[in-house]
């Protein structure tokens, strides 16, 4: 489920966004649906809200959980009213935590209605709110949020954390999901990327959690240079479905890319 509302106008800052979720080679082979989902929206005053969710591959119906979680979290921020000031770290943390809690409640309601175990809707959730003065992020589970600047530098705001085993992670449906969530309030960035675990092994040095700049820089330039949202999404989907990517990642892949434009670039 996605909300692709295009580039915004009528404000000083404009975001260009390209976002897609593609089925991994493993899910294509097994004839399973894409269990990843994303959602984003552009608010007035140059605010971008984006979410990525990755349904747990080992359980049924996780594609429902991921879509509901991403959509609910984005809507929660979009309808929250006045955003906290850039110095109010606790205010931002509370805002994002509330959005994740609403997503949890949405999943609990859905599980009840469908009379299934909550774990059947298990999903990760990555949420980013970018305002002209700051970038706030929160993440439950794996995947990562990376930002870049015009000088080509990149840095990770969240990391794909896991316990002893690389194939276990925390999901939004886990009891301690919100307590263990990663949160950060960072300076504004020119570029933003949110992605699911299907991409992390080719986009990050997993040992250190460092973004691989030669991976991100061309993608950031691409989204900044493509004014048509639909065209950008088509090209991104085609790239992520290409054999070069698919042979390196068996899992579903979701990537939300955003580039902040200003002044004469618009």
């Amino acid at each position: 489920m996605k909300r692709d509302m295009g580039t915004q106008s009528g404000s000083a800052t404009v975001w260009r966004v390209a976002a897609t979720s593609v089925r991994g080679a493993g899910h294509v082979r097994a004839d399973q649906v894409c269990q990843d989902a994303h959602a984003f929206t552009l608010l007035s005053n140059g605010v971008l809200v984006a979410a990525v969710a990755d349904g747990a591959g080992s359980v049924a119906m996780s594609e429902i959980g991921s879509a509901l979680a991403a959509e609910t979290a984005v809507t929660a921020i979009a309808t929250a009213g006045t955003l906290p000031s850039v110095t109010d770290r606790e205010g931002w943390k509370a805002l994002l935590t509330d959005a994740l809690r609403l997503a949890q409640i949405r999943l609990e309601t859905e599980a009840e209605q469908r009379a299934v175990d909550l774990n059947a809707l298990a999903t990760t959730l990555l949420l980013a709110v970018a305002i002209p003065e700051a970038t706030a992020v929160m993440q439950v589970g794996d995947g990562a949020i990376v930002v870049g600047d015009a000088d080509g530098s990149t840095r990770a705001l969240t990391f794909p954390l896991h316990g002893e085993y690389a194939n276990t992670t925390v999901f939004l449906t886990s009891p301690d999901a919100l307590e263990t969530a990663q949160f950060g309030l960072h300076p504004p960035a020119t570029y933003l990327a949110l992605f699911s675990d299907g991409l992390q092994r080719i986009a990050l040095d997993m040992a250190t959690g460092t973004p691989f700049a030669p991976f991100f820089s061309p993608l950031f330039r691409f989204v900044a240079g493509e004014p048509e949202v639909a065209a950008a999404q088509t090209q991104l989907t085609s790239f992520l479905s290409s054999p070069r990517v698919q042979e390196r990642s068996d899992d579903d892949i979701t990537l939300v890319l955003a580039a902040r434009l200003s002044g004469q670039e618009v």
Binding site: A122, Y165, T168, F212, R244
Partner: protein, 224 residues
């Protein structure tokens, strides 16, 4: 307008080492396996390897070890990437020292996990598949009790996923008293079916992600 071709040409990929997916085959080679069953098991090890090597993900991640139990319990093959695994030709010998076999499997896993940690390699939760056509025999009760307790502790601390696969002749009731997870009943099925089930399970395990605290049941035979 940017071209997709340009994206494909421009984006470079980081190459991380694949996480390891340790898998122990704990095999009953007691005298009751003599003849046809052992011949089928030996052939089955080749099929197991071939099926996993064909899987694009499992082939890169699965490390297999083979431990046998008769009267003697031994590591026939220590952990090795599946692509480099040369299936051994097993021979039958003696009674069914299943408890000692379980203890050796758990011990091998402990030291392999320690080695992976020292190498800073990521790894998945390990699994053991114990294939038996019988029940513990001629083994001191205290050894069996120690195996049962240690396995229970390892399962509780999520140190291992231990699956007992019962083939023709196995005593399911006795197995249930020894292992935590309900044994997988493949009695009355061919070894070929058993091996097929085994390699499909390992393929699935090598690419699945687990809900941290949920029980992880194996899919019943015939569903994968």
């Amino acid at each position: 307008m940017a071209e997709t071709g340009r994206l494909e040409d421009a984006v470079e990929f980081f190459s991380n080492p694949e996480p390891r997916c340790p898998c122990v085959l704990l095999l009953d080679v007691s005298d009751s396996m003599r003849g046809q069953p052992l011949a089928e098991l030996n052939a089955g090890l080749h099929t197991f390897r071939e099926q996993l090597v064909r899987d694009p993900v499992a082939s890169k991640r699965v490390d297999v070890a083979v431990i046998t139990f008769g009267t003697v319990v031994q590591v026939v093959q220590n952990f090795i990437p599946i692509t480099r695994f040369v299936p051994p030709t097993l021979t039958t010998q003696g009674y069914t020292h299943m408890g000692a076999g379980i203890l050796l499997a758990l011990q091998q896993l402990q030291s392999y996990k320690k080695a992976l940690r020292e190498l800073e390699m990521d790894y998945f939760r390990p699994h053991v598949f114990m294939i038996t056509d019988g029940e513990p025999r001629d083994e001191p009760e205290h050894v069996l009790e120690r195996a049962r307790k240690q396995l229970e502790a390892e399962e509780r601390s999520k140190g291992v996923l231990f699956f007992a696969i019962a083939v023709e002749g196995a005593d399911l009731e006795r197995l249930r008293k020894l292992v935590v997870r309900d044994p997988i009943d493949l009695k009355g099925r061919s070894f070929q079916e058993m091996i097929d089930y085994l390699s499909k399970s390992v393929s699935a395990l090598s690419q699945s992600r687990f809900v941290e605290d949920a029980q992880q049941p194996m899919p019943p035979p015939g569903t994968i």
